[in-house]
Amino acid sequence: MNTEKAEKIRIKLQDSSVGIAGAGGLGSNIAVSLARAGIGRLVIVDFDSVEESNLNRQCYFRDQIDMIKVEALKKNISRIDESIKVEIFNHRLTKDTMDRPFHNVDVIVEALDSAETKTTFIEEIMQKLPDVPLVGCSGVAGYGQSGRIGTKKLGNLYMVYDEKAKDSDEDVLMAPRVILMANWQANIVLEILLGEDK
């Protein structure tokens, strides 16, 4: 272990903040990964409660069914690291005010589910907060086909992308692929915050 590098990273990440839109399969796993990496402050927005059907891929537990997702997630993060500041908003992101929770973060992550909401969110953030890097994801459904996944960078927008994936309404959502792409997003966040790993 390179302790000098680790210490540099620890100091930088402790002073960093990330906003996450959605606390489902992508968002819950991204938040946990970034918490483990040592991000100092997380801002998480979701309107939903934990359901039994979420447990096959989302970072919640059986005894958290019916809990408000952002509250359950905050609890899970505190069990990993109590020192992380987690700001939660239990509401639905709606058009024209989607940017509001994310005005004071270094990077924004799109971790929403429907294609329509994803598109609206990305359009709105790119327009209202053009200088904040935005990490989105499209095409998580199914299993296998890891090699089809890639990063597409368009200015400040980074997309974790599999354009050949099916819509989740016509396919399945399973932990390995959802968490793979969630961590792909989290990995891009680290690269944005820390610079390229050389």
Partner: protein, 65 residues
């Protein structure tokens, strides 16, 4: 010529974003489009003309997360 997602194709005069997506057979309803790095919102697809020599990126947003 214009470039769409890295592929060079012919420039067509007075072609809108909406027309171009149709020509490319991009049938997904939710697409994020940038022309020369500038975002074009979906509401403007039918009115925004594609300039010659432009670079267009079109990303399909697929449900799931």
């Amino acid at each position: 010529m214009i470039e769409v997602n890295g592929n060079s194709i012919a420039f067509i005069e007075n072609e809108t974003v909406k027309d171009l997506l149709k020509r490319m057979k991009y049938t997904f309803p939710n697409v994020v489009v940038k022309i020369n790095g500038e975002l074009v919102k979906r509401v403007d697809f039918a009115e925004t003309l594609i300039p010659d020599d432009s670079k267009i990126a079109a990303i399909h947003m697929i449900s799931g997360g």
